[in-house]
């Protein structure tokens, strides 16, 4: 296995431990095979050709051309119909985004900041008197999911079942490579998710609350309300996207800052750097390592011919470390002048929740470092990150006083 990883950067890329530190795999992909196209199906488990794209310029182009590289059909995660808006293209996609973008706009998000800041402090209160915590379990997991349930107007009592669904969908507990078993778990979970949201919507048809689901019930596109199926397909996307990615981003950011005392001290000394810290760690750590596309029309990208039906993996993390785009790409620099990172994608599918994610991660880092400026990863701990969406399995931290 190791010998193969030495010779084949694709093998290295998909080795489970690579998610812990993917930079070398990304570098080798960019340098040795910036666009690969293999027909043996070994990479994706799909029968068609599997394509990997790793340079910033190619990724940037591909993300902005969904007429060739489409987000429709690119993932099956237990859903019966395309997720809205992720798996819709063209004019319909634009309509859904016009409806949903204002719900996640920077202005809307800014209004939530005091409430979120208070929640961060409540969560920190639970463990700050102790010697440490499991950052993933005690902070990064409850924080975004609790806030998500508040936003949508769903009951906090349902948090455990949401987290179980999230895990079933995103990282089903099966033997590596057992795609059939994974699909079965996802399908069963999908049925539960649809049933849950059917009930949740029924309740709000009777009595509106002030959450997002109720607002979606009254929302109109060109004078038409959303159908029940459309509402369900939006809800399905929100739970998948809303519960996992911010947790991963917090895990990645704090692991980085725990291991890099100089970077952490900059943030502690200058809290106003927080927005730049968020952007730079999104770039450098790229929590969502890759996003899928399928080829809808034959197209040539940097001299490689992609064919209809090819499944494409866009290595956002590799693009974000590309020296051709970023000055000293391999260095973390909170004063970087230009940072057009692709951590939230680009083009029409730019992450719908990106402004919420930025708010959550920034405020979490601000409050954490105000109250817990000195911490380390617990001794003798190897932090294990999950591939794809880089979430820590656990992240034990120890707190210490200044100078200790």
């Amino acid at each position: 296995m190791e010998a193969q990883a030495d010779t084949d950067p694709t093998m290295l890329l998909f080795a489970p431990e690579t998610a812990n530190a993917p930079h070398e795999a990304y570098r080798r992909m960019r340098e040795e095979c910036p666009i690969t196209r293999s027909v043996d199906g070994s990479v994706s488990g799909n029968p068609g050709a599997a394509v990997l794209i790793s340079r910033f310029e190619d990724l940037s182009w591909a993300l902005k051309h969904p007429e060739y590289l489409s987000s429709e059909d690119a993932i099956a995660i237990g859903n019966d119909r395309p997720l809205i808006p992720l798996q819709i293209e063209g004019p319909d996609h634009a309509k859904y985004r016009r409806l949903l973008d204002p719900e996640f706009s920077p202005k809307k998000m800014a209004a939530l900041e005091p409430d979120f800041r208070a929640l961060v402090n409540q969560v920190i209160d639970r463990f700050i008197e102790g010697d440490g915590c499991d950052f993933h379990e005690d902070f990064a997991t409850p924080l975004p999911s609790t806030f998500f349930l508040r936003l949508t107007g769903l009951s906090l009592d349902d948090l455990p079942v949401f987290l179980q669904w999230r895990d079933n969908i995103i990282r089903p507990d099966v033997e590596p490579g057992d795609f059939d078993a994974a699909a079965e778990i996802r399908a069963a979970t999908g049925r539960e998710i649809y049933a849950y949201f059917e009930r949740a919507l029924d309740e709000r048809v009777e009595t509106r609350d002030d959450g997002l689901l109720s607002r979606l019930l009254d929302a109109e596109i060109e004078g038409e309300r959303l159908t029940r199926e459309e509402l369900l397909d939006i809800c399905y996307l929100l739970i998948i996207a809303g519960l996992d990615t911010v947790t991963a981003t917090l895990d990645c950011a704090i692991t980085h800052l725990a291991r890099n005392a100089d970077a952490r001290q900059q943030l502690v000394d200058r809290p106003e750097l927080a927005p730049a810290v968020v952007e730079e760690l999104l770039r450098f750590e790229t929590p969502v390592m890759m996003v899928p596309r399928t080829v809808k029309a034959d197209v040539t990208v940097s001299d490689v011919d992609l064919k209809v039906g090819d499944t494409v993996t866009m290595l956002l993390g590799a693009g974000n470390l590309d020296d051709a785009e970023f000055d000293r790409a391999g260095s973390v620099d909170f004063e970087r002048e230009r940072n057009r990172h692709l951590a939230f994608g680009a083009g029409p599918h730019r992450c719908l929740g990106s402004h919420l994610a930025r708010l959550e991660v920034r405020v979490a880092l601000e409050e954490w470092h105000r109250r817990i400026p000195h911490y380390d990863v617990a001794p003798d701990t190897d932090v294990q990150f999950s591939p794809g969406i880089r979430q820590a399995e656990s992240l034990p931290l120890v707190f210490r006083s200044a100078g200790a």
């Binding site: 973008d101 204002p102 706009s105 920077p106 202005k107 002048e337 680009a346 083009g347 990106s354």
Partner: protein, 65 residues
């Protein structure tokens, strides 16, 4: 120098108005509005350039550069 945004290319990343709030602003969808199309020289010009350079869609142009 004149600052322009290509509304068709803007996807609402929000990098411009976060970095240069004196030159750019968000509309209700989070897309970019240029509030100071002629920033003159000095700090505001630098801010406009910063916003343009950080746009992942390269939707902002600085004319007369």
């Amino acid at each position: 120098m004149k600052v322009r945004v290509d509304a068709a290319a803007c996807e609402g990343h929000g990098r411009c108005y976060s970095l240069a709030p004196d030159v750019f602003e968000a509309d209700d969808h989070g897309h970019c509005i240029v509030t100071l199309p002629e920033p003159g020289t000095g700090a505001l010009e630098a801010a406009a350039r910063r916003g343009a350079e950080n746009c992942p869609e390269q939707a902002i142009t600085l004319e007369g550069e």
